[in-house]
Amino acid sequence: MSLTGLEAAAGEVAADAPVVEGRSQWQLTWRRLRQDKVAMASLVVIVVIIALAIGAPLFVAITHHPPNVAYPNQGETAAGNPVPPGTAGFWLGTDGTGRDLFIRILYGARISLFVGFVTTAIGTLAGVAVGLIAGYFGGIVDAVLGRFTDAVLAFPYVVLALALAVVLGPSLPVIIGVIAFFSWAAIARIVRGQTLSIKEKEYIEAARSLGAGPFRIMFIDILPNLLAPVLVLATLYIPTAVVFEATLSYLGLGIQPPTASWGDILADAQNFYQVAWWYVVFPAAALLITTLAFNLLGDGIRDAMDPRTERVLAGRRGRGQRRRRPPADTLAMRAEED
């Protein structure tokens, strides 16, 4: 190779170098996540479900079947049972009172996703705030907040959720409040633990010596280091909240009819399982696909953020199966593993 060629190559390397250095943890995570086919597929499924939920009125315009309108003539058999999928323009058949099941599942998705996202957001914000304050200040503040967190975790939460729904009257805000009330405590505990270890680091000491106040340290210096575990917890909490809402509605104490909700549809479907399989199968599948997609995505994000599990897995993979990584990489890992 000629000298100029080498120089050019060196120049290229030099030009590349800052780009390589500039990768933040988030960029690395995103790169790893993008290679995770299952996680990306889940992301696509989630986006599709959100699009379907938002676009529900569009499907009403196409099918001319509003969610709460019953069609006793076309939508029910002579015996008054639901009609099967594909009959008389009902794509997924009808429910027990002759309403369009497909449209009702779409509107149920709106409730489920809305409850899932809103409660997770509220619970995460509250949990992070409580955990940060308890962990940072310690002492009496920690003791009081800690006992309060314990009390919430010790509540038999389904009983309490049901009781609250009865006392306050089941409605969407009440259900969101109840689910959010039980979602912050677990997050607060983990954030507190992380805060305890981070606040002892030297750079926090440095910030303090520069005159930073407690809230600046908590929210500017500590919080960014907690975002990764909190993001994973939040992603994994969404399906929990979705199931929570479905369970409340299934027990009759969630979203009240005629508003469509997956739990409520499934509770009604019990009476028809012998004559209308679709009435049970489709809403159950919608619920399962949604929660599964969020769980898979949360898992993917966690794996992508934690290089340690990846290293162990890659090392193990190297033993049994053909590996796809570049040789230098595997050699290094081999050396580390064996």
Binding site: D150, F155, P156, V159, A163, V167, L266, V312, L313
Partner: protein, 321 residues
Amino acid sequence: MALIGFLIRRILSGIVVVWLVSTGAFFLFFARPVDTVARQLAGRAATPQVISEVIRNLGLNEPIMVQYWHFLEHLVQGNLGFSYFTGESVDTMLKQDLPPTLSLVAGGVILWLVAGLTVGIISATKARSLFDRFSNVAVLIGLSMPVFVIGELLILVVFVPLNQHGVHWIQTGYSGPSQGLSTWAGHMILPWLTLAAVQAAVYTRLSRGQLLDTLGEDYIRTARAKGLSERRVIFRHAVRAALTPVVSQLGVDVGQLLGGVIVVESVFGLGGIGEVSVQAIDTDNLPVIIGFVIIAAVFVVVANIIVDLVYALLDPRVRIA
């Protein structure tokens, strides 16, 4: 000595937690109009005089703080109050409703621990194998399935067809072990499977994750370098360390579940603490709701204390101080 001090401190803070929970429950339920309860008790055609009589008899006309004081007095004496409707003491009701819940949790724990730990350990030692991939999918489905869907599915695909074909061993409802062990198991098998299906998923994931983390530790490499057999490395060195978080999860879960497994109990009509609580909620039977909430909180608190103790025994790095 450190142990006794630790126990005393944990028990004191446990009492604070139970007090917080009971106070929360009391004000939540009592600080609301009392007419509804009285009207239900007095019957539909009751005159206003009868209703106010009922309210007086229940002591609901007193100021809320006085009621709260009475409530605390009774609580300290171990008296959880009396059902509004049957006059039965809540303590007695508790003794009646505990066996189904206890049966459910006891059988469920064995099933889910055996299934969860076996699959979790095999998956971790054969990570990314076909078995691991399948078990991961099964775990995620288990985690994503609402309990009531699993219960309903079991009823549809197991209970109904079997009974239609003349096999009547599997039943719904509850029958105590004193009625015959086989009958008891026949009534409990579907609830056990439902509970275990959900929990086994949690435990598989937890034990797999913990074991994978542990297998990445330096001391495991050291153990392998010493030439120990893989079997010995995994069972003597890795599994023991990996199991401590599983133990703590188990304590918390058992504590929570003993407070009532509402959905499973309701789907299979077992009775039990959960189902009775829901009935009490439906009928505004305040003393029963509060009593059951307090008992459930006690279970959780006690379970947490036991977990901390076991933790210290299992993991020498945890010091009780």
